[in-house]
Symmetry: C2
Amino acid sequence: MILFDIAATEIFSNKQALIFDLLGETKVNKLSEQVEVANGGLVERRKFLKSGATFLSVLAASSASSAAQTDVFDDHPKHMKIPGVASELYGEPSKYESHVKRLPEHVYGSSIITAAFTPIDQLNGIITPAGLHFVVHHNGIPDIEPSDHEFKIHGLVHKPLKWSVESLLNYPMVSRVHFLECAGNSGPNVIADAPMDMTCGQIHGQISGSLWTGVPLKYLLDEVGIKPNGKWAMCEGADSGNHVRNIPLQKLYDDAIIALYQNGERIRPDQGYPMRLFVPGYEGNMNVKWLHRMEISDIPSQSKDEQSLYADITADERVKQYSFNMEVKSVITKPSGKQQLPMSGFYEISGFAWSGRGKVQKVEVSADGGKTWALAHLEGPIMSKSLTRFTIPWRWNGQKAIILSRAMDEYGNTQPTRQEWVSRYARYSHGHNNSINAWLVSNNGRVSNFYV
Amino acid sequence: MILFDIAATEIFSNKQALIFDLLGETKVNKLSEQVEVANGGLVERRKFLKSGATFLSVLAASSASSAAQTDVFDDHPKHMKIPGVASELYGEPSKYESHVKRLPEHVYGSSIITAAFTPIDQLNGIITPAGLHFVVHHNGIPDIEPSDHEFKIHGLVHKPLKWSVESLLNYPMVSRVHFLECAGNSGPNVIADAPMDMTCGQIHGQISGSLWTGVPLKYLLDEVGIKPNGKWAMCEGADSGNHVRNIPLQKLYDDAIIALYQNGERIRPDQGYPMRLFVPGYEGNMNVKWLHRMEISDIPSQSKDEQSLYADITADERVKQYSFNMEVKSVITKPSGKQQLPMSGFYEISGFAWSGRGKVQKVEVSADGGKTWALAHLEGPIMSKSLTRFTIPWRWNGQKAIILSRAMDEYGNTQPTRQEWVSRYARYSHGHNNSINAWLVSNNGRVSNFYV
């Protein structure tokens, strides 16, 4: 005889009610349920999803067709008639997705790739595969054998110490989902006077999201004992570029970690193997990769990176250093630059927002160039200093449309317009551009970068 | 002149207070703060972490030594003196981590790998890299070109439909972090009368965690319109094994998705490219990979997989089918089988718990073979039907110790002991083993699998 467990019994008892609800709902005129919440076709989400049948069949019409019951068994594809291949011991993406890769950039005519962006318009969710995480470095990725690597803390401390990789792997660890963004992300949109026709990844792809796991710095700082005049940590990478940034000790006590794992596995060479500093919410280059030394000091050491590369020039020609936090920002990844909408009808506008200061409070979307705005749905869990996916349904009428998103974080910080942002900085200064981004959808469905 | 932004100013005002607190704390006798919460060295967490200096210096002693200020600059390793290499367009793990890979298993003497486990004892956090996600299949991984693939729903519906991959990629999507576990996970611990000396991954590695993104099934079911007598969906994979499972429609409406992305990128061939069914919390094989057809019916079709491979035999020799949910379970991943503790002292016991029915409510850990138990810390966000990482500090005294974990989910479900579990099932029936797991730490620090 056959046993059904309790779950199955519940299913049968609930099922009847469900079916009746479903059939009942299909009798309603779905179009009458769709309430516009802003101009240009932005639709109220709850009623919209309830009107699923009408909404989705519009989309499905582009490629779905009725299938006669009888032909279902006549069309088993060839791959069902031959044995498949074995599992790899470390799996790879499908060969049919080989176009999804980092977008390389050769800065200053360097012969090696000094930056590689994440193709965020090809991805979904809020986690970036480690293999596609954006990368920036200034003298290549070092080949570091763990037994060759030590991390030391010295300077204004009571007891200078150094740790092997193995010893840190035995420390207590925390895991948190955080974004990482380069200070120079979205630079093209403020450097170029006219919008360049690039993909979302090419413009905004110096942002990625990961689950970072490692040892809280506060444990190590307690261990060496900070002297009263210790206020800053000079953090040095073990790369031949000798990358150095100074971090206020307060931040290291608050939420900084020595990251040893990314997305579950040991951190990869291009992300700092065997270890990197991770300072959640701070500009990318402060998350020093291949970290091997912290010198505690009373004032920042004014490294080359702080005096030039990562300093911003303001409109009144002053040098702004130590910006620390990446400010609240959002970007629509779909539809986005160089994509093509196949036909007029219903689409889901999707993107993500983030803030280096905390949680995303809300994201608004406009489909009429910023005249009217509607609240987007935020997909949880909404985590501090993490990418937060937002979506909103959109009925595209086939005419020219300009779509924008703007985010607010839990402290009420918002995004400036491009004009507001540009007015604050000197020409060609392009760090920390968190201005509102826009895409133009032409009446032929082609999507392109746009300045409002 | 130099500007500091508001963040920097805040740091200086807070910093003084921090330093004084820190120095104040180091005057306290840390050992007096460590409160045992269970026998065998399990320590109360909050006081424990506050006593950081003492706790950590014990561990650091194993490999950390004082570094004179002067020698810091004398030892730049060789990799700092030569340029590094360029970024790859799709990055790879470090060559020094090449031992971290799936653990293959050749079932029934098959010439191809039919199962490959996740080395969960080598990983951390709650996300498994797609390349290390466990894999089970019965006739290899099919090579499916997206343009060769259609998904259809027919049977007891008002309007049979089929969708191309491209059309589904235009549908609204949701992203959720969920575990996936094979019904046969942890089988060795109930099949073998004596504990086999294997790693945690070899015994319990048919569990992985991912961010799954895809189209909610309810949209597609609304679109075809279910007839009143439609209660089940026969779900068929497009592999040559022609894997088939029957799922109650209620589940498909509740939280099932057509998964198109895993951890941000398109789902990989060994996980069902171009699409798989994902039914959160249900046994792995019900999450039909390479999904190409759903036939709505009034009763389940009793597929070969349901009649034999994935049916459990109870102690009174009856066949239990349609178990659906994977029950609440936990496993300690560190320390675990075949690992070696270098010395007595402080360690963090770390592992994860999960339940196919909802959220993990609590995890308790014992270090004395189950006589006394202490509450472990759960690392958030705690998500439904997701891996939840737990940790607890442990002072190992260098003597033989038996460590266990037991979890409870939000509905009060708990794990049975091994004896309780074995008494319910027929000999060699090993599906759905969620019994309490134990590790033996010998007085030489060697860790091995153990039956309590």
